[in-house]
Amino acid sequence: AKKENTASNTQKQVIRFGMMSSTDVIPLVIMNENKISDKYNFELDLQVFTSAKDRDAAFQAGELDGVITDYIGICMYQNAGFDVKITGITDGDYILMAGKHTGITDISQIKGKSIAISENTLIEYTLDTILKKNGLEEADVVKEVVPRIPDRLELLRNEQIDLGLMPEPFATLALSEDAVLLSTANECGLYPAVSAFSIGALEEKKEAIQNFYKAYNEAVTYLNQTDISEYEQTVIKAVGYPEEMAGTIEVKPFRTSTLPLEEDVLDAIGWASSKGLCKPDLSYEQVTYDVTK
C-alpha cells in the first residue's frame, strides 16, 4: 500500500482548510498527524486563523477550499452571494457559565445579568437557543460585544462581567477556576458547528473531498477507540490548552460526519433571518451538499 501512495503522490490533491483553534479541529489534526490523509491520497493543508473575519476573508479570496464554521456562518456566506455548502458536522460544545462570585448557581438566576459574547455569530445563536430552552428571552440578559474569546474569559475571571458562553479550552479554564456551569449547547441538543466547502472546491476536488470525509471518519474512530494519553499532546497543541493541563484533559466522543438534521439547520436559518443576516427563504437544499453522492 505504501508504494501505491508514493506513486500517486504526484497528483495528490491539496485541500486547503481554514480553522480556528477549538476542539472541533482535533480529528483534522489527527488526520495529518497519523498520516490518514496520505492513505486517502490527498494532502490536508490546515490554516489556523485567530479571527473569524480573517478566515472569512481568506475563504472568499479563494485561498481556502473549506472551513470549519457553523450554521450562522453558512447563512451569512449565502447571503453574501458566496455559495458555501455544509458537507459534514463537527463536534464542539459551548458552555454557559457564571462567574464564581456572582452567586448564580442556576440558569434561572441569570435575569438582568451581563454576558460577553460576539454578535451575529453562533455564540449569540447558541445563547438565544439556551435561553429559549430554559424559558427565558433574549432581553433577559445584557449582551456585551467582545469579539475575542480570551478577552471574554478575562472579563469573566476578573468579575467585570457575570456570564460567559465559551468553547473549549476556555470553558475548562474558567471552570477550573470555580466558574459555575449553567448549561451547554449540547445539553440543549445543539450542535451548531459544521465543516463546509465552497461550491467551486466541491466541483473541482470532489474526489478528494469525499476522501477527506472518509479520512475524517477514520480519525474519529481512532479518537473514540484510543486512550487520550496517546494523543494528548496533539490535542493540547491544536486546541490551545495550557501546557499545565496535560493529564487532565477530557475529550468527549466524536460523531462520524454526516449532514446535519434539516430542522436544526432551518431553525438556525430562522434565527439568522430574524437578525437580518440572511433571507428567510433559504432552504436546506441550498445550504447542504452530500459529498457521498
Binding site: 473569524a52 473575519k53 472569512d56 476573508a57 472568499q60 479570496a61 451569512m76 456566506y77 447571503n79 453574501a80 452571494g81 458566496f82 460576539s118 454578535e119 451575529n120 455569530t121 456585551e144 460585544v145 467582545v146 469579539p147 475575542r148 480570551p150 478577552d151 478575562e154 472579563l155 476578573n158 467585570q160 443576516l277
Partner: protein, 247 residues
Amino acid sequence: MKKLLQQLYLFIQGFLLIHLFWYFCYLFLKTTVIPSPILVYQNFSKVVESQIFLHILYSLKRIAVGVFLSLLVGIPLGILMGYSKKANKILYPLVYFSYPIPKTALLPIAMLLWGMRDGSKIVIIFLIIVFQVIIAVRDSVKNIDSSLYLVTISAGASKIEIVRHVTLPAILPELLTSLRVSIGTAVSVLFFVEGYGTRYGMGYYIVDAWSRIDYIGMYQGIIIISIVGFILFASMDLLAEKLCVWK
C-alpha cells in the same frame, strides 16, 4: 468663503476619482469582496436610517479625547526629551521600548483597568498616538536652529517663556504634521477599539458589517469614515493656515 468652496471642489473631485477607481476594480476583478459602487449607493438610505450621525459622534468623541490626551502628554515629554539631556537619558529608553509594543495586545489589561467602555478605548488610542507625538516633537525640537534662541535667552526668559515664544511656534508646522498623522492613525484604530463593548461608532459599524459579511454595509461604513476623515484633514489644513500666518 472662497477657501471653503475650493475645498468643496477638491472634495468632490477626489470623491469622484476614487469612485472611478473603485468602479474599475469592480468591473475587472468581479468578486463579491468588491461590490459595485452603484449598489452601495442604492442602499445608502439604510445608512442614514441606522443613526449614522450617532456613530460619527461617538467616534469623534473618542478620537478627540484620545488625540487631546496624547498631545497633552506627548508635547511636554517631547520638548523635555529634546532639551534636557538628563530627562532624555531616562525617557529615551522607556519610549523606545514601549513604542514598538503592539498596544492592541494590551487590550486585556486596558479592559480590566478602564472597563469595556470608552475608558479602555481612549487609553488604547492614546497609547498608540502618544509615542508618535513624543518622537515627532522631540525630533523637531532638536532641529530648531539655535540662533533663534539668542534674543529670547539674553532677555532673561524663563524655560517656560522660551518654550512659549520660541519652541512651540518653531515646531508648530511639524506638530501639525504629526497631528495629521495622529488623527489618521486614530481613525484607523477606531476599527479595532470599537470592535468591543459598544454598539456605536464608525469602527463598530464597519466591523459589524464585516462580521456579517455584509460588504455593502462595510463599504458604506468605509465611505462614511473616509468623508469624516477628509473633513478632519481639511479642517486641519485650514487650521494650519490660520496658525502659520507668518509663512
